[in-house]
Symmetry: C2
Amino acid sequence: MELSLAEENYLKSIYHLSENGDTEVSTNAIAEDLQTKPASVSDMMRKLSDKGVIEYQKYKGVHISDKGKKIALNVIRKHRLWEVFLLEKLGFRWDEVHDIAEQLEHIKSPLLIKKLDAFLGYPSVDPHGDPIPTENGEINIQPQKSLMELNEGELGQVINVPDSNPALLRHLDQIKMKLGSLVKVIEKVEFDGSVLISIDNQSPIYLSGAISENIMLKLK
Amino acid sequence: MELSLAEENYLKSIYHLSENGDTEVSTNAIAEDLQTKPASVSDMMRKLSDKGVIEYQKYKGVHISDKGKKIALNVIRKHRLWEVFLLEKLGFRWDEVHDIAEQLEHIKSPLLIKKLDAFLGYPSVDPHGDPIPTENGEINIQPQKSLMELNEGELGQVINVPDSNPALLRHLDQIKMKLGSLVKVIEKVEFDGSVLISIDNQSPIYLSGAISENIMLKLK
DNA sequence: AAATATTTTTAGGTGAGACTAAAATTATAT
DNA sequence: ATATAATTTTAGTCTCACCTAAAAATATTT
């Protein structure tokens, strides 16, 4: 079954908002995520439901079906493989790849993705640490905690940062935080949720709560 | 000015049908080329004319403007760079690249194309021998003759074959004809327009007129 | 030059995917 | 429990790119 570009984007949004298909998603949340109006979402839900890629009851929110999940994961696979290509082969920075990959992910050619995957050496994660789903729609979700959840004294390794926020990514470049960096929480500031950390044993710096909740780590 | 995918395809068609913008193009020819109906073409001509990318008078055919030519050449540039990528980096065959490049050519990101161009080593022709326009819309059109135009005894070097006909390209693979091959016309058959040729001094074979008129050569 | 054929345009309509405004449903607060 | 607020859906439009059928313009025959 071939979905339109718009339909693919809806499915992807639902997949993400439902955290990998586990929770129900509201009409408003989808509208917000896709920068459209709730009325448009309702229309589309009827259509996607008819196609069997979501389960939908009026006023009751949306659940992605197995079929839908597979399609969403395939789009995500393509997005992340293209991100790897843009960074590793073309020399883009990690804050530049998301928007272009948003376009490339809709190119239709399974063979192209097979060959791209091989060309890139079968990567398992994209430049932001997100796991790349397999051809069969399997995805390896790692247990992770946000930097804000760590306690004073705890140590973690950065394994994931958001791909869609260039300004944040550029800031991480500035403070020299990258995937794989070891981060130690020295002090948590009660008042504003900011944290004092050291990155790879460098001199400590403060990070705002807004930033630290977006940085995902594996406990060490 | 941003054109839609459909508008870009119309411009590209007009550019090609007008042989690089030189001749007038008829409504029917465009409809045939784009597999659409003449009525749809008339609609689009009004729109493209309003945008200043073509000169159009009702019932009088269409001429592409300088502005339009530049846009068309940019799309063609992208198409041909992607074809090089697919063939040289991903290992596609030359008969497989056209359809995928038709999709990739509409990706919008000047920086992407700059970087892709560099990654490919600034190629000047695509896998079918078509010249790749520069960023500024310049294109190096070589004088060339179709194999059918050669006389008996004449020798030519293959410099261009059509990119959009996979069956033909696969046939050329079979008879081991590639870009750069030296082709000698041994005999021209009056009756059906076929020609007896030798490719790179191999044993002679017959080619139908339909094939030979699509193979473009530089006289040697 | 008139008749006929071809090409092109206009008129009106369709589906996709968006919108606004209003109605219906569900959730929250009093 | 009722009133109010928030969310969601429906109803009715809009634009885009296509369509068919009919009309208009141009080209070709006789």
